[in-house]
Amino acid sequence: MYRHKRLFSFILVILLVINSTFALYKDQVGVIDWYQAHVGTPKKAYFQKVIGRSNLIVATDHNVIANLNLKSNNIYWRHALKENDKLVTIAPLDNFVVSLSESKSSNIRIWNGQNGYLVNEYVIESANNENAEYDDLLIQNNNIYALIHGKTIVKINNVSRSQEGKFDLQDNNHSKLFLNSKTNEILAIGKNNKGQLIVSVLETNGRIISEKTVSNIKFEIDDVFFTGEKLVLKNFNNKLYTVDPKSGSSSTISYEDVKELVHVKDNVFIVKTESKDNLVKINDSVEELSAFENNDEGIISVFTNDADSYVSKTSVSKKESLVVEILNANTAKIAKAFEIKNDYSKNGEIVKVSLDSYRNKDGVVLFRIFTVTKDGSIHLYKESNLVWDSEESLTNIVDLKFIALPEITKDIPEAIKNNENTGILSQIVSRIKFQLSFLKKSNDNHSQNSDILKRDPYGFRQLLLFLTQKGKLICMETLTKQIIWTRFIGNDVQNFNGIKLTNIRSSAVQYPPLVAVIGTFDDNGKESSIIYSIDTITGENYQYTNKNVPSVAKYPYKVLQTFRLSNEEKEDKTRVIALVKSETEVDFYPNIPEVIDSIKEMEQPIYFNLNDKIGGNTLRGYKLYINDEKKPQIDYLYKKTFPENEVIISYGFKEPVDYVASLGKVLGNRNVLYKYLNPNVLAVATVKPHDVYTSVLSIYFLDTVKGSVIHHSYYEGGGESSIMKPQIIQYENMIVCTFWNNGAPLEDLDTKEAKKLKKNIKKGSQIVVFELYESEIENQKDPNHEFSSFHYIQPHIESKAYLFDGIITSIGVTTTRNSITNRELIVGLDNNELQGIHPVFINARRKITPPSNEDKQEGLLQYRPIIPSSEKSIMNYNIPVVGVKNIVSNPATLESTSLVAAYGLDIFLTRRTPSNDFDVLSEAFNKPILVITMVSIVIAVIYTHIKIKSNNFKKVWKIQPADKVEKAEKKDK
């Protein structure tokens, strides 16, 4: 027995030790990255009971359906529909979520609410795309009625999983479905082109009972509700009406002015009037049941299930703390009132509220409040406590800037700061003193210093500053994903619309880094522009030393274009920003006379472009200088208009940091092709429709100083698809363009020519690579030391086109500190992957013939049309980075490493080393062994040195070792 006891205890111990472990895949080892999944700002959010538990289901502006965790800030499941599959609405059905989305067809999908699996999908083809947004879902028991294109009603039975009917209405302006549960009839209502109410009544088997038009009420379609018997609606004059759906007869209800009408359940409504928000019953007249105690401006939210119905009012008049009052609609009594906190300066006001009611184990009714704030972020409160909040505003990023941290941000001695006044020696002395004191301090309290934002030795620690379209600034740290600060500048002005961020001062020891945030806003109906100067370490407005420079400047016009000049404001060393008001007027920020003087001193005028947006077809060039009257003057230089039917579809993108390490490309025979590094080359892609091919894509390279076309090439069949837009990236002397090729026409397959075409023009993604060189002849170089666009140098251009297996939605390139490292092209794919393409594949000099020895020396592969993709080249291994729109990179201090950020819906940040970690010791490197070897060698050297010395000494003095002496003595004897 004793033995058994031991055995049992042994097994027990083993069982205690057993634990679930997480393992990495081989390719994940050593990869340092972070990832943040988003869903977007909810358009529709509701709480749904799935298998007895509350779930928060959201449909967002980014085409995402998601189930959010109620306990912590993560996502149970989400589905991001394709961009061309517009999510219209969602509805709950038992444990399922029904979604209706519009692509070429209308798609009804049923998702499992618990795990998000697709249960069923119904694709309904429509003859035309008219009124595609007039869609609605109605759930009755196990039947789904879907209104499609305002005309067709589709009935789906969720038990038999079949489409039971498809009924067409006469008018195609219906937009809402209601159910009359008493008579089991379906009501489709809408507003026709004349602004009249149309009401159609159908039986559930599709027989149309009546189709009526009610003429005399002017109304908004969102203000129409169905009580179960009658339609209740509010007209433009805030009067209430009831309409009998079958006869179409309408009658006025006498009641005071109604600001807003909210349907609760059956004939119970919330009526917002000038003074009060009442809970009312509407039959032929209005019967007031109860009212909210708080009469401030507020948002009404309704929660109903079979047993309970609650209405909440979240007052929004106070910015920071909001009162939530909850009415029980069944008993018409106040159920609860509590206060929730909202950080107004970071989130703005609350714009959307969803209410949830649930019972805890003891049967006590509790409430949850889900809010969407103006900036687009979401928050979940459990009564007055914030459970979590999520920065969903990060899904609408207009610009992202990497900001290098200063080396030290605190306690810098005066002598270092004022380096102009003191001598070099005193500077050095104070510097050493300071460093010593710093060393002491860091030894004393290491933990306290760690929160200071400062640069790490390898430059991996940087700030990511995001600007969202609505004006939220979010500053994150690259190492830890921690949000350093957020600020919602969209509060300050109406309808803020972010344009871009501009670095106006990079970080130095004595100055914090600054950015300018540029946006437009609505100044009482007048389009205006605004600039903020923001300290990126703290997020606060930067106060200039010169009191004449405001940290926030408003301009009473919409800027056409802004750009940063190379001039600096003297005192604060910030770069000057030019704001182009019109083709003849420009403003400078800061607008002080010294700035004008410094621009006047410049030898060259400032050239700038005002190009058409995507969809236009003209590029314009101007030059800006300060005239003799000390006024900025703009001269119009050129206009480049593409042929009439060509439309600009994409402009080349350049990384702000683009150094060139080598001026030429070294060939296999060690000769050099000199790179054409004109910084003013702009690549433009245009597309025009074509009779034979669907479209033809043209790529132009223009010198934007003088507007000349350097190169033009066209691609038959090239263009765009609904999910793939052409993208161009320019770096060094390379231009890479990706586009969708529609392929050769399919008609007339018999002719030889057509067959050849079909063979040569493949349908699919295509990558075209251009390399620009000064001359075709090796070692030949333009002798001028200065490059001007007005000299005539025509570059030699080599190009190759490749096929790519994948739909490219975004394109980027790695940048490193000195550009010695290879530049890796990064493509974001439609299947949520980010793929790095090694430069050896996208080389324009690959030859069709087998490579010669020289080519091998150069590292050229033989040309193959397809760019191979391996699992290893996928940067995000098994993480789905959804909806990537932009890929931006910034160098770290280590030459081998580039920080790459991809954003769109999700945010992904990783480090790329295209030429491997050549400047970092590998993980496998054994440091102890090295140290041990070194130490032992040193010891051995010292030992032998001493030994030899003593030996020599003995030799000279003919001292024999003791044992030999003894032997010799013995011999002598």
Partner: protein
Amino acid sequence: MENPWAVNYKAIDLSSRVKASSSIPAGFALSKNERYNRRKAANDTQQKDIDDIRKLKVKRAYEKAFNSVKGIFMNVIMMLMSGNTINQFTIIIIGMLLMNPIKALKQTNEVFKEFEEDEEEDTSYLLKPKLTYIALSIAQLLVGLYKCSSMGILPTTTSDFLTFEEPKVYLESVHGGSVY
């Protein structure tokens, strides 16, 4: 330690050799005339001997000169075998190919010292073998350089000076882009 088996040409004592060739027994007196004739004959043979030895020395010096570059063919074979990639092996070979001839050139005088005569200042008879020696060493050096150039480590092409070239100054710079 000197090799007891090697003949040191420098150490050969000519006078003792003449003595050894003397066939006159001890105590034998020569007449004046005879003595004169004998001395003359002896002087003649001595002069003849000196010339012979010089010839021999030059011959040996030539041998020495050729000897030092005998390895050249082996080096060439090694060079061909090692290929043109840069690795430890080729670097060692190149080091050898370049260092050996340079060392040899430095030691020219030392190598031929053993053929010199102690007293005589005139070493002009060694000039030709010395020149041959130098020429052959230079030839060996050239082989080494050829290897370097075929490996591409001689800075002879434009690409080798690319790093030192100044980047161009771009006079104009264009700002902006598409309008907002």
